[in-house]
Amino acid sequence: MLHTYHARIIFYNALLMVFLISILAYTHIYSRNVIIEEAEIYSLNLSNLLRSNIEMEKEKLLHYTGVVRDDLIIQEYMFITTEINGEKEALWSLYRRNFGWLPVQRTAFIANDGKAIIGDEHSDLIQVINARTDDASEGTFYFQGKENFERVTWARIYFQGAPRGIVALTHPLDRAWLERHRFFGGYYLLIDDSGRISLSNLPGAEGRQFQPDNGLITIDKRAYHVRAIPLGDTDEESNRLWLAISEQELLDKLAHNSDLILLLALVGGTAILITGLLIIRNFNRPLQQLMQITQAVADGELPKLQKSSETNEINALLNRFAEMLTALRSKQAEIERVHRKLEENAITDALTGLYNRRHLTDLFPKLLAQARRERKWLCGLLLDLDYFKRINDEHGHPAGDRCLTHAGELLRELSRASDYIFRIGGEEFLVLSINDSAEGALVLAEKIRRAFEVKECKTDDPVIPMTTSIGVSCAEAGYPAKQALSNLLSQTDKALYRAKALGRNRVVAFKEIEETTLS
């Protein structure tokens, strides 16, 4: 199945694609499981982190309160204001001058009798401080103010060893606070006294009644795990701020990322596909071409191969192959030419250029079939040059050869294009001729005899007169080709023998001998 490079390339590409998709699928599934399993831990860690941050904020606010409390001039001004009737504006002015930079929302100075020295516009704050401060020197708590849920830190101010009042600073858990904590992740829900979500960065949550069911709330058909973030020591404070985590949201984020991953997979897959196609185009196609050509060569063909102008290795190989094919074609033409020559030599007589006896055997069946198909006669004229031995003896073999050549030329000259002329012995020739009747063959034979008589053999010696005797016969019907040839040769030979016997230079038809014999 993978015997071809083409198949292997496709297979390897498919493997790469499967591998890529498997990795992405595994990553997706694994991430999903991790998200589901770790959501609880994430929620806990986030809660601890936030709690730690809130604790830090508390310590910072307590520190600010302590700094104000420990300021000697503040202490003195508290004394002046509360004990010797100094105006409170001086205290406020001093506070703003020295501590106006503190990042707090509200500031209040409260006298020992609970009346506000500074911050009397914050009646809610003053009221709660009076209600919640005890004999301690400092403290902190949360309360729902008029505008925000706030952390309050307070400290008692002493001067000359006696308490002179309280300074209180507040820090809100407001929208800005939520914004500052967004980077922690998750959503925050702030619950008011009536159990409603008064503030949240979770869209659609504000104003809803907060009623977690088994640690879950549902907002806009989406479930969130909720976890209380302890704010203070009391249960009331501890159940004010909640952290909400949505598994589904995390999964949605994963799904969102999956789209990106899928896009990457498509890009990666396309890249692999393109790479495969390029490999096929650059390697497989030339290889296929080479395969087809080599197959054609194996089948005995030498197809033409267009040379490529590209210089890569595969095209160089193709070009070499094209050159090789060109060379092979040239060699094949040479071989064919030599073969034709050899074939010609095999069927012709070297001296006269006429067909030889072997070719007679090959050709006769075709001529016989043609004659029978055309309902004509295939006749044979067997010639033997008269007294040819004497020519050799008297004038030499070259002269004899010259006379044989002359005889061949005469026969070619006298015969028709459809006639076939053979030299079947030393000075014996056979002419096969297809005629409408046996008489046509006799006419041709007589024409030949006369021509020999008239046209003498011209050599370097004086002209040598030459005659020929001819025996004529036609092939008989009803015999196979081989038998018919044998019969024809036998009959013409008998007729020739009679012509020789009758004094030579004459034509004798085999039919005449039969008739004489019968009579």
């Binding site: 003195e76 001004y77 004394f79 002046i80 004990e83 010797i84 009737n85 100094g86 105006e87 001086a90 002015s93 001093l94």
Partner: protein, 275 residues
């Protein structure tokens, strides 16, 4: 003037060879800056005075301590803003060289409508018998009493207002320095306090000095015993001061430079000007 014990750091090293060593707080520098050149010219000696701009540690006690350190190769003196008791002078083995009387200003904030009080009213306010400015025809504001009751064992100074701390209103703010006094009066519109006339006010101070019994806190009124609140400024030395120290003090008491600064700050010199 501060009442903390202080020995100038490095005093021995800095002035051991040639300089006359002295110490003094605010008033001393107001005086000394004006007369230093004259004093050095007269004595031909370098004078090193410690305590300039000091908010702590260059008060009367430090001056007494340094004056007592005088020895054969160590010529020292001090400036004190309070009159020393005879008992203290004897105990410490000192000689007091009176310089001038300094009026004690009764200060209120500039926006206080009151410009003049009788000395009886002032004393009543400081005793706490009067606690509201409205009672004195002023604004509808409670009186914020600010005091600086330093050098409690010494006679004179704030004791010209009331002789003992026990006489002062209980609900008062007692500060430790003149600078704090000024700051508090600046901050509280109903404040009243006291300070020596050599105090140099800052341009942005919103403070004024009241006339007492219709009299300004001026040298002339001190000279005729008409202005009731004052203190004595003095130089102090050991019982055996060097000739140069004596010359320095004599020039301070009698020289023209001191007269100029006394005029500027309404000081009443206690020794006649040299002819």
């Amino acid at each position: 003037m501060l009442c903390l014990l202080f020995t100038p750091a490095g005093a021995d090293e800095d002035g051991a060879d040639d300089a006359l060593l002295g110490i003094g707080a605010h008033f001393a520098w107001i005086v000394f800056d004006a007369i230093e050149a004259d004093l050095e010219a007269k004595t031909g000696r370098k004078i090193s005075l410690y305590g300039k701009n000091s908010m702590l540690g260059a008060g009367c006690n430090a001056a007494i301590k340094l004056a007592k350190q005088a020895a054969e190769n160590r010529e020292t003196f001090g400036f004190v803003c309070c009159p020393l008791s005879e008992k203290e002078v004897k105990r410490e083995g000192l000689i007091v060289h009176p310089l001038a009387l300094e009026p004690i200003l009764i200060l209120v904030r500039e926006d206080n409508p009151a410009d003049n009080l009788s000395s009886a009213q002032v004393r009543a306010i400081f005793r706490g018998e009067i606690s509201h400015w409205q009672d004195e025809g002023g604004a509808d504001k409670p009186i914020v009493l600010i005091t600086c009751l330093h050098c409690k064992s010494r006679p004179g100074h704030w004791k010209t207002i009331l002789p003992s701390p026990d006489n002062f209103r209980k609900t008062r703010l007692n500060v430790n320095s003149a600078a704090t006094m000024i700051q508090r009066i600046n901050d509280f519109s109903g404040a009243i306090g006291h300070i020596g006339s050599t105090w140099v006010f800052a341009p942005d101070d919103r403070i004024k000095a009241l006339s007492i019994d219709g009299l300004q806190p001026a040298a002339a009124n001190l000279a005729r015993d008409a202005y009731p609140f004052f203190r004595q400024l003095s130089a102090i030395t050991s019982r055996t001061p060097s000739a140069d120290i004596l010359e320095l003090i004599r020039e301070t008491q009698h020289g023209p430079a001191f007269r100029r600064v006394a005029r500027r700050h309404e000081l009443l010199p206690l020794r006649p000007q040299a002819q």
